[in-house]
C-alpha cells in the first residue's frame, strides 16, 4: 500500500507488455478481443496505481478491470476453443492478478458500519470463487480440454438450468432424507457414546479402542452391508452416514470434555455437584468448541458418505446414483451439476453451523478475537 507499487500491479504491467509482444508475433486466428483486453488491463492497472489513497475507488477500478477483461477474453474464445496462445493466458493471468489486488485492497478495508462489514465478508469470498470459475472456464475452453474430462462451468450452469427437476429430486433423496437423518443420528450417537465413555471408566477403556476400529470401517465395505441390512432405499445411506460421522464426534467430544479448567472442576466438587450438573453446567459448555469442530467436519463427511453409499444398490434417484450413472453415460456436465449442488448445500450448511457456533461459544478466545 502506502504509495508503493504493489507486486501484483508490477506483474500486471509485465504481463501486459509480454502479452502485447506475444499478440503481435502470434499467427492469425485464435481467440478474439485480446487486444482490447490488454488495453483495458493497462488502463485499469495504471488508474489503480494512480488512485493510491482512495481504497474504495481503487477497488472498484480493479474490480471492473479484472472482470471486464475476463468477460472480453471469455466471449472472445467461443468459436476458437483450443486455439488460445500465450497472449490469451498472459491477459488472463494479468486479469487474475488485478482481481487478487482487488481482494487485498478490500480485505484491508475496515468499514465502521456493520452492513458494509457483512457485505465485505461476502464479496471477498465471492470474488475468489468467481475467479476459480473464470480460470476454469478460460483454461478448459482455451486449451480445448475434452469435455469428457472436465466440462466448463458454463456448460454445467446450462445443465443445472435444464435439469432442475431431476436435481431437485436427487437433492431431496440424498440430502433431505439420507444426510439429515444420518447426520443427526450419527452426531447424536457419537455424542452419547462419548458421554457414556466419560461416565463409565469401564466403557471409556473399552469403547474408545472399539470406536477407533469403527473409525476406518471404510464406507466402501460398509455400504453394501448396510444395503443388505436396511434395504436399498435411503435408510441404508443414512446408516452409512451414521457410521461416518460417529467417530469424529466421539473423538472431539471426549477431548472437549477434558477441556474444562481444574479450578472450575474443583469448584463444582465443592458444591457436591453430581455428575450430570457438572456435565451440563461446566464440562459441556467448555467442550463446545470441540463439539462444533466435529459438527463442522461431519457436515462435509455426511454428504460424502451418503453420495458414495449410493454407488451400491439404490433406487434410481439420488445424487450419488446420478453421478455414477451419468459418468457411465458420458454426461459429465450432469455429474458436475450434481457436484455443484452438493457443494452448495454443504457450504450453506457449514455456514449455518459456523453462525450457531459464534453465538454458542461467544466466550471462547477464538471468537472474542485473538
Amino acid at each position: 500500500m502506502r504509495g508503493t507499487l504493489s507486486w501484483q500491479i508490477m506483474l500486471v504491467a509485465l504481463a501486459v507488455l509480454a502479452g502485447i509482444i506475444a499478440h503481435m508475433t502470434a499467427a492469425n486466428g485464435g481467440p478474439a478481443n485480446i487486444g482490447t483486453a490488454l488495453g483495458l488491463l493497462a488502463v485499469s492497472a495504471a488508474a489503480a496505481w494512480a488512485l493510491n489513497r482512495q481504497a474504495l475507488a481503487k477497488a472498484c477500478i480493479l474490480f471492473i478491470g479484472a472482470h471486464g477483461t475476463a468477460w472480453l477474453l471469455l466471449s472472445g474464445v467461443s468459436g476458437h476453443e483450443g486455439q488460445a496462445g500465450a497472449s490469451f493466458y498472459l491477459a488472463l493471468g494479468a486479469a487474475w492478478l488485478l482481481a487478487w489486488r482487488c481482494v487485498t485492497v478490500l480485505s484491508l478495508m475496515k468499514p465502521v458500519s456493520l452492513v458494509a462489514r457483512r457485505a465485505l465478508g461476502l464479496i471477498i469470498p465471492l470474488i475468489f470463487g468467481a475467479w476459480v470459475l473464470i480460470l476454469w472456464e478460460a483454461i478448459v475452453r482455451g486449451a480445448g480440454i475434452p469435455f469428457l474430462l472436465l466440462p466448463p462451468p458454463s456448460a454445467i450452469a446450462d445443465r443445472i438450468a435444464a435439469s432442475s427437476s431431476v436435481l431437485a429430486a436427487d437433492f431431496k433423496q440424498t440430502v433431505l432424507k439420507a444426510v439429515l437423518a444420518g447426520y443427526v443420528m450419527g452426531c447424536g450417537a457419537g455424542f452419547v457414546a462419548a458421554i457414556a465413555a466419560d461416565r463409565f471408566v469401564f466403557l471409556r477403556r473399552g469403547l474408545l479402542p472399539i470406536g477407533n476400529m469403527a473409525a476406518a470401517l471404510p464406507i466402501i465395505g460398509v455400504a453394501p452391508i448396510m444395503v443388505m441390512w436396511f434395504g436399498f432405499d435411503w435408510p441404508s445411506k443414512a446408516a452409512v452416514v451414521v457410521i461416518m460421522t460417529f467417530f469424529p464426534m466421539l473423538v472431539n467430544t471426549v477431548a472437549g470434555l477434558s477441556a474444562s479448567g481444574h479450578m472450575e472442576r474443583d469448584l463444582m466438587r465443592t458444591y457436591a455437584s453430581g455428575y450430570w450438573p457438572t456435565l451440563f453446567k461446566l464440562r459441556l459448555p467448555a467442550a463446545m468448541p470441540f463439539i462444533f469442530n466435529a459438527l463442522k467436519i461431519n457436515s462435509t463427511l455426511a454428504l460424502i458418505g451418503a453420495i458414495v453409499a449410493e454407488f451400491f444398490g439404490t433406487p434410481v434417484v439420488g445424487m450419488g446414483f446420478r453421478i455414477s450413472t451419468e459418468v457411465g453415460r458420458m454426461n459429465i456436465d450432469m455429474v458436475w451439476a450434481e457436484i455443484t449442488m452438493a457443494a452448495l448445500a454443504g457450504t450453506l450448511f457449514y455456514g449455518a453451523l459456523a453462525l450457531v457456533e459464534r453465538t454458542v461459544t461467544f466466550w471462547h478466545p477464538s471468537i472474542r478475537g485473538g
Binding site: P146, F147, L148, L149, P224, V227, M228, G231, F232, E310, F311, F312, G313, T314, P315, V316, F321, S324, T325, V327, G328, R329, M330, N331, I332
Partner: protein, 298 residues
Amino acid sequence: ADKVVLQLKWVAQGQFAGYFTAKEQGFYEEEGLDVEIRNGGPDIAPEQVIAGGGADVIVTWMAAGLAARDKGVNIVNIAQPFAKSGLQLICPKDGPVQTEADFTGHTLGVWFFGNEYPFYAWMHKLGLATEGGADGVTVLKQSFDVQPLIQKQADCISVMTYNEYWQAIDAGFKPEDLIVFNYTELGNDLLEDGLYVMEDKLKDPAFEDKMVRFVRASMKGWQYAVENPEDAAEAVMEAGGQDENHQQRMVGEVAKLIGDGKLDLVVYERTAKALLDQKIITKEPEGAYTTAITDKAL
C-alpha cells in the same frame, strides 16, 4: 516393440481372458507389440480414459460406445470379439415373476454405468414404464453381487452367464430354482465387449497397422483361451484375478460367446436402432465402426 495401452472395462477376470492369454503366450510380442493391460473397475469409464488419452484401445459395450460417440467422443469399433451377449435376468422360481408378463409392479435389479441400455431397450420393447408404480417396473441399481436376490430386495436381478449366474448357484440356488431371461435368446441382445479406438488416431497408417497387429494377436489369444481354459484362467490369475475355479468356469462360459472378431452388421444395426428408439443416442451413428482392421487382421 510398439507400445499399446489397453483399458479393460472391469477388473481382471475371465471375461478378458483372450487379452491376458495373448500377452502371456507372447502373441503380442510376436506381432512386435508391447501391450500394457490396464484393469478397470467400478466407475472407471473406459470411454473417459481413452478421451483423456489414457489408453490407445479400450474394451467396452457397443451401447456405451455409441452413447459416448454421440456425446462427441469419436471412438470407432475396430473388432468385436464377443459375438453374443452374456446378459440375462434371473428370478427365483418361487418368486412372483415367471414370465415377461409378470414384471409389472415388481422390482428388477439393473446394472447402471453404461450397462443399463439393453435393459431399457427391452422394457421399451415390452412397453413397460420404468418409473415404478403399479403398471410399470421399479428399477433398483444393483450392486456387484447377487445379494439383492438372496435378500429378496429385488424380484429379479441382472447376471452375466459367465459370472454372477454362477455366484447365485454357489450361493445355493439350483439351476432349476431359477427363471432365466436371456437377452440373446429373447433377441434383445446388444453387442457387448468390442475393441474401440479414437477415430482421428486411426487416420495414422502406423497406428492402423499397430491395431491390425493388435487385433490379430488378441483374437489369437481368444482362440487359445477357448481351447485351453486352464491356461487362460492361469493367465487371468497372473493378472490379479481372484478365485481360480471361478475364473476357469468363467473362461468356459465366455468361450460360448466368442466369435471370429468381426462385427456382425445385423446386430450392429439392431443395437443402433434400439438406442435411437430410446433416445439414448440422438442421431443415427455414422462411422462408428470400421471393418478395415479386421479385414486386414483376420
